[in-house]
Every structure is written in structure tokens, then in C-alpha cells.
Symmetry: D2
Subunit: 291 residues, 4 copies
């Protein structure tokens, strides 16, 4: 057999002979990001909770008050939804703004909500405490650059097929506009496995934390897509060193207009919060408390 | 646009509309497996540790006594190694048998070692407490059927591209010979991501536990391939409900003949063991103690 | 071993037991799409060629005249580029509009160019014969809906990790606005393999053609990312039944500002065109001729 | 933002900035391999055909005579089958040997059949013209080393998740025993896509041919798993430069004991053979004729 062509460097990605340059950097130190008066990326573990979609005043109010009581420090809730099929529920849109304000005022929580079009900044900027960029839009550089022009924090979800390196470079599209307030969010990646909605990539949380100074949180709801498993992933992320989590909660998951199968009940969330405090305590960390 | 052909069921694997049949089964109850007098799959968390390859009497002795002292209940160590290149270290083979016995006698620990050829049963059967089937051999049904004829327990690693369903069906190739003593081991899967050696699939641990009664352990060393991250994955697996772990430890990783970059030092392992006790305790579990 | 939980339908995605519902539909019939007076999706095979990025008047003019002479019926050329790093060349933007018009007028070819932001419609609509949506924007539904409001054809590239089903549903986001003029483009997917830029998914061309009436073309340049291999993929797509191809050509690839390693030279393209005619002829098809 | 840790080389695997070392080698020249008096890897294109499993004397005889008549130069047929479930048909095993010899004698064709256990060499060596190693066993180094001790050619299928580099290194496990008679076979890889059984990786054929001197053939049957699409992939491989193909054919696919959904009928095969001759002819190649 003749000599082989020298293998290119990309071949270092092999199960057997990883590059010696695959190593953690101990130099990284997370710089906290403030969302209102909530600090993410400091010593305390932050929990963001709420419904996948904001569906009605009643559902949002009930969820918000319950998750605050159980320890959430920020409220999640989708106004526009990204759905594979245009026939699925697309979110309430602007009509929900009125009652959202009411709920925020009542609970004192700030809102984390997804932006899906650069032209939504005008409506969202006065409403949200933090913008969320969904996995499908991580490569939407026009949107990222627009958010670089705002000063609100951005929760940047990893694209479901994005390399950690691409995720970090996507964050840089925001920073070039001058906005350094970025929180990275691992939410599961697409692999060959089909028994769960996505494959939760806990490794990526560790790599992202070692390579950047951005806080890194996880979304265990999308990462597995099966309610019973969500709390276990949340605990795992906490002991592995994530800075927090964002989790879907619904008072009656069976009636949810989107993703009910992965939403925790109010009681599930209360129990998760309790378990988080215990495992964090075992490692001398604490949960951030609602103000 | 004309009507589309009805989509086949495999399309349910989509990030947005997971099948409603994706759910955990609460009916599963793990049946413990005994390796000598060590019970895996009971309420206590079991730690298996040792070198990737058995390299010398001195290295194996030093590692074995240290990991026992720090809480390992079984000893790992490769006699034949599976290497992508035939030019890499292939293991000591039969010449190591003499001193292996000495070390086992001295420590009282049982050995977990990989079998790579059905014709190795004769040599290994009197030596090992548990056979290990590596990721590359999970689909080697001739080997699995041979192990079905023994009565020793088998640690069946998941193939790096095996569906959880295929992993379970591979276990059945062992059970048809009458050997029910199987422990499943998640060790990372191959995905598009290249920043870590493999992608640790914690979801799969949860699915495997819900679908079978086999104990499920994790191998955090191969799952990430970066020393500094190994303890974090081990803690994560513990709080997520795994039955134990198998981890690579070497007294001087820089001198290891295989996979030194992912081996814990003796001190790393001691610290991991301490942290495991704490997080397990927070969830009212304990670590299994060496006899 | 206890009974297993019934496997969910997604498990049908297994190498060994594919669903019997995995089958081609013979009912589909492609509906041609007109770009100016060029018909794509009819009996003839259409070739779109040009540079990755429009870099200068001279480079664009030289490429355009050469590819027309060698058989291209439409001209590609990027005005805004999507780059992983914001420090890479981002395209000339609006300043190129003047000389682009000159080149189009001179050659009589229509332009296919990527849109990366819904707010670019105003500038692009009078300039392009067909919009291109890049792989990173296939899930950018805001952009797709905007294009549904135009009447220009849209070349919709498959996301590099999009299921064929998601690709088709993305096309529907365009059709709901009333724009049925869609051409699907397979350009390689992201897999575990690292020896080529992407994995060319020829299977997906066949599936897409069987499930929809949209014409389907391929982009062999991105699909493999290695110049020498590009013509071979182009021939393969032609005999497998694709409706055409879009290929990157540069007069001096070594000087290209983006993706030069995968650009054909003018001479490579001339030779490819010749070979395409021959293999198409063997199957009683012909290449569409420039007007 | 602080400086990032320098990215490791594996990160070059990114859609946007492929390594400049990703290039084809023009130095490679295929060394033909002889199977009996059939030469694979020379200027002519070789077709291997036959049933997935040998099911009965009648089925094997009918298929063998028909495929020979339509241009096959070697006969495929499985005696032992690798099946995910032990409850699926496992092949006839040794009982088929008698009538297999009859069929081979009658047609004058040599047999290509899969070996699944190193202990099968004794039975298979006098029977086969070429051993086949299946995708699940590409990493079974004990089996590969055993085949290195024989002098019969080996058709080495790529593992469904093997890097091209690992596939080549697996071939070297055969060559170290002194057996250089190796033919590589691409048969589809496992990816996120679920609409076809596997993803046909035509790129890998080109890479393997450029990096080694082994002939490279394709298995379009497993690569897509849908009968109607198999001939299109076969034509694609032929014009892209593969050295041949191995394809499943069954007189009555609906009655096949394994993989009937992807088997060509005798008539499908006859038509494919005709089309292959035409497209090869257009590129000045010919099909190898049965002796």
C-alpha cells in the first residue's frame, strides 16, 4: 500500500486520539451579567421559570406567582413562537402586552422573552428584562447585530447543531455593537439518537465556561423533552457548575398550546427548587433568592 | 403545491414536535447485579476505578491500593486495548496475568477488564470479576453470545453511535445464553461537536433506566476526554440517578501509555470521592463502601 | 429481565429495521419555476454559476461572461455574506449595485443572490431574478414570510442540520404569503465526518423530489468544499435526477475573498459543462441553454 | 470579553472555514484487486449483485443466474446475518453450504459473503471468493487481524459512524497480517436525518480514493434503504468515479426474509445494468463483463 496523504487536522476529532490541545482553560473567570437587580454568573445559582408560550392572562399570572414563590428570579414566557409548521400556535403577539405588564408589575419579576425578527425591538425593548434568541436564530446575524445596538441583556441559545466555537462567535456578533451583556444557554443538540427530543450536551457547558467569561445556563426542558427527566438534568447542571437554568412550567401541562409534554407542573417546580438547594448546598453554593 | 406524501413515523424525531409517546416509564425497577460481593444497582452508588491500561506491576499496584483507599469498590484495568491504529499500544496481554493476580489478592478488589475476542474467555474467566465490552464491540454479536455462555457479569458499554434501543437489544444477545448479569454503561456518543472527545449523553442514562431493569453506570472519562471536566460529569451522573461510575485513574497521567489526558490523578480521585459523598448525601443516597 | 416499555415510533430510525413506510412516492410531479425566461424543473437541466462573493467589477464581469459562454443560464453572486466570524469579509453590500447592473445588462443573465435580512427586500427586489436563502437562515421564519410577500422566485437552501421534513415546512412559510415560486437546494449537511466540509446528502434530493412538486437543485461546492471533487458531485446529481445545480466559479480562486478552495476555475467549469452534457445525453436529457 | 483560549485544531471542522489542508491528492493511484479472475479497481466498473440473505436453493439459484445474465461479475449472499434483534432471521448458516456450491459451480460466479466471527474462517475460506466485513464489524479488530492471515480478498464496509480515517486504519489491521487484497465499500452513514435508512456519503468515496490505493465500491441498497432510489445512487457513484457497486437483488422482494424493501427486482437490476453502461460510456468507461 502506498503512503497515505497526510491527514488533515480536522481528523483529530476521533474517539481514540483526541488532540492534546483539548483541554480546559483554568484562566477563565465568569463576568456576572445583571438583569434588572438580578445577578447571573456570580456565586449564586439563578433559576428562570415560566411557560413556554404566554397563552392567557390567567395562565401567565398563575404561573408567575407560583414560580416566584418557589424561587424563580426571572420569568420566562414566549410572545412570538418559532414553530416548524406555520399551522402550529404562533404565540399571542402584541395583544398580550397589556396583561403581561400587569403580571410583571404584580410579581416584580422581569421578563425573558424571545425575539424572532429585528423589527420587534421597538415593541419588546420596554417590556423585557432580557431578550432571548432561540436555537433556530443563533445563526441569524442580522438579528444578533440588531441586539448589539440595544443595552438589554441577551440570553443566546446554542443552535441545535452549532459547534461551541460557532456559538461563541455568534455572541461576538452581539458584542461588536457594544452590548457585552450576554448569557449563553445550552438547550440540547441534534444527534442520531431519537429516544429524546434532543441530546443534552453538558460537556458544552463546561467548554463554554472555560473559553469565555459569559455566564452559561441550561434549558433542561428542551434538552430532553420529557417532563419526568427535566429535574434530573437540572440537578446535574447545578453540580457540574452551570450558572443557572431556564425551565418551562405550566399549571396544567396537558392543556398547554405548545410543548406541554416537557413542562413541569407547579408542584414539580417547587420540588425541583427544594432539591436544587440541597445539592448546591452540598457543594457550598446557594440558590439566588427572588428579591 | 400538491399534497405531500404522508410523512413516515421516523419523522417524529423533530426538535419541535416530539412524539407524545416519548415519556418515561415509572414501572421500571432496577434489579441489582452482584460482582463478587459488590452489589451494583441497589440503593448505594458504586465507584469502579483504575487505569485505562495495565502498564506494569508497579503502576497497577499503586493505583489499585490508592483507589481502594479512596472508595472504589471494583478495579478497572485493560489487558488488551482496542486502538484505532495498530501502531498504538495494544496492551500487555497474557504476560500481565501473574502480577494482576497478586494485586487483586493484595487489595481484595475484583477486576473489570475488557474482552476483545471470543477466544479470550478461557484466559479471562478465572481472572475477572466482570467482563467489559467496549464501545467498538457493542455490535459484535459473536462476542456477546459467547459472554451469554459465561455466568460472570458483563459491563456493556454503549456503542458510540448506538441508539438506546440498539444498546438494549445488544444486551439481549447476552441474555439469550442465560446470562442476566448485565450492567449498561454510557460513555459518550459521536456527534458533530469536536471540542470534546465525545458527547456525554446523560439523557440516555435516564432512558435506559426507564426502559430496562439493568443497572446503568457512566464512564465520564471517555464521555468528555478532558481531565478537568471528568469529576463534574461524575457528580452530574450521581445526582441524575445513575447507579455508579467507572473512571480512569493513573498515578502519573503524563506517563500513561493510553489516554493519559483523561485520567484523574490519585488526588483528583480522592477529591471526587469526597464530593460524590456530599452530593449523594444531599439526596439521601450513599456511596457503596469497599469491603 | 422485565418487559420493556413499548418503543416509541421514532425508534424506527434504525439501520436494521427501517419503517416499511419509507418509500418513494411516484405520484409527485415537479412543477417548473420560471426565473425570467429560464425554466427550472422542466425536462432540461439548469446550471447556475458565478462567484461566491461579488468582489469587484472586474472579477464579476470576467466570471459572468465566461460562465455564460460555458452554459450557465443564471448568475450567482453574493452581495452580503453570512460568515461565522464577524471579522471575515462580509460582502460589498449596496456599493456593488451599480456595476452589478452593468454586468447583468451586458450578459443578459439574471442574478441569484442571498438575502440575509428582511429589510433588504427593498434594495434587492429590483436587482435579483431569484432570491437565495442560505443554510443558516432556513429556520429564519421572519425572513421566509417576508419573501412570501414578494413574487420573485426563492432558492431555499436546506439548513445544514434540517430534516427534509423541516425543509419542506420552511418552504411552506413562503407559500402562505402566496409565493409558490420555490426551488429547493441541497448543499450538504453536518455530520460526524470531518474530512470534507459537509456531507453531500444525495438521498435528500430524491426524497424531496418525491415528496414535493418543487424543483430540487444541488450546490456541490458547499456540499464537499474541495475543488477537485465538485465536478464529480455535479455529475452524480445530474444522473440521479436533480433539476440543476448552483456552483461557485472564480477566475483566480487563490485570490478569492471567500471560499476560494471550493471554487472552480473558468476552465474547470467549461469542462464540467461538457461532461454534464454527455452524461445527461446518455439518459436522454439535455442541458438548458443560455438564451 | 477576555481573550479566548486558542481553539484546538478539531475546530477547523466548521462549515465556514474548512482547513486549507482539505484537498484531494492527485498522487493516489488505485491498485486493482483480483477476486478469482475478476479484476476490481481497474478501468472497468464492476457490479456485484445477489440477495441480502441466502434463503433457499431456489431463491439463490434464480437470483444468481439472472444477475449473471444482466452483467454481475460476482455474487453476493449472506450466510450469517447481523441483526439488531436476536429474534430476526439470522441466516441459514452451514446448512446452506451444499446448495451454495452447486449454484457457484453452475454459474461460474465467485461468492462474496459476510464473516461475523473469526472462527468462521475454516468453513468460509474454501467457499468464498471474497470475504465481506459488515459495517457493525469494521471496528472488530480481532476479526480483521484474522482476515489478515488469509489470502482471500476482503470487502471492508465502512462502519456507519466511522470517520474515513478510521476506515483506512481498519484496513491496515488486515494488511499487517500480510493481506493487501482489500476493497473499501461505502454503505451509508448514520446522521440526524430519518427519511432514509442511512445517509449515502458520496464524498467519502472520493476522499477514500484520494487517500489510499484500495479500490472503492458503494452499496446503494443500504445507503438509502428505499428500492426506487437505489438505481439513482448506483448511477451517481458510477459517474463520480467509484470502482464498482454491490447491490441487493431478490426475485420477489416482498417475500424476502431480510431487507426486502431495498432489494431490486430482477427486472430493476437488468434496467440498472443497461443505464450504467450508458452513463459510463458517456465518460469513456465500460462495465466489466461476466466471464
Amino acid at each position: 500500500m502506498k503512503d497515505h496523504v497526510p491527514l488533515n487536522e480536522a481528523h483529530l476529532k476521533t474517539d481514540l486520539t483526541p488532540s492534546s490541545s483539548l483541554s480546559a482553560s483554568s484562566a477563565s473567570k465568569t463576568k456576572p451579567v445583571k438583569v434588572g437587580n438580578v445577578t447571573i454568573g456570580g456565586p449564586e445559582f439563578a433559576v428562570i421559570a415560566g411557560p413556554c408560550s404566554i397563552e392567557s392572562r390567567e395562565q401567565f399570572f398563575e404561573t408567575a406567582t407560583a414560580v416566584k414563590k418557589s424561587g424563580a428570579v426571572l420569568l420566562r414566557g414566549g410572545i412570538w413562537k418559532m414553530r416548524t409548521s406555520h399551522q402550529s400556535f404562533q404565540g399571542l403577539g402584541p395583544e398580550a402586552v397589556g396583561f403581561i405588564r400587569e403580571v410583571l408589575d404584580h410579581t416584580g419579576l422581569q421578563l425573558v422573552s424571545e425575539i424572532t425578527d429585528p423589527r420587534q425591538v421597538e415593541l419588546l425593548d420596554p417590556l423585557v428584562g432580557m431578550y432571548q434568541v432561540g436555537a433556530r436564530n443563533m445563526f441569524n446575524y442580522a438579528l444578533l447585530k440588531e441586539l448589539g445596538q440595544t443595552r438589554k441583556p441577551v440570553l443566546l441559545k446554542r443552535g441545535f447543531s452549532a459547534l461551541v466555537d460557532e456559538w461563541i462567535k455568534a455572541a461576538e456578533y452581539i458584542t461588536i455593537g457594544g452590548n457585552q451583556n450576554i448569557i449563553l444557554c445550552e438547550r440540547g443538540i441534534r444527534t442520531f439518537e431519537t429516544s429524546t427530543r434532543n441530546t443534552f450536551d453538558l460537556n458544552a457547558v463546561l467548554v463554554a465556561k472555560s473559553r469565555t467569561s459569559f455566564p452559561v445556563v441550561v434549558d433542561p426542558s428542551h434538552a430532553v423533552g420529557i417532563r419526568e427527566f427535566v429535574p434530573k438534568l437540572a440537578l446535574a447542571a447545578a453540580v457540574a457548575g452551570a450558572d443557572g437554568l431556564i425551565v418551562e412550567v405550566h399549571p396544567r401541562p396537558a392543556e398547554a398550546l405548545s410543548d406541554g409534554f416537557q413542562a413541569l407542573t407547579l408542584e414539580d417546580f417547587r420540588k425541583l427548587s427544594h432539591d436544587l438547594e440541597r445539592v448546591l448546598g452540598a457543594l457550598d453554593r446557594t440558590m439566588l433568592k427572588p428579591v
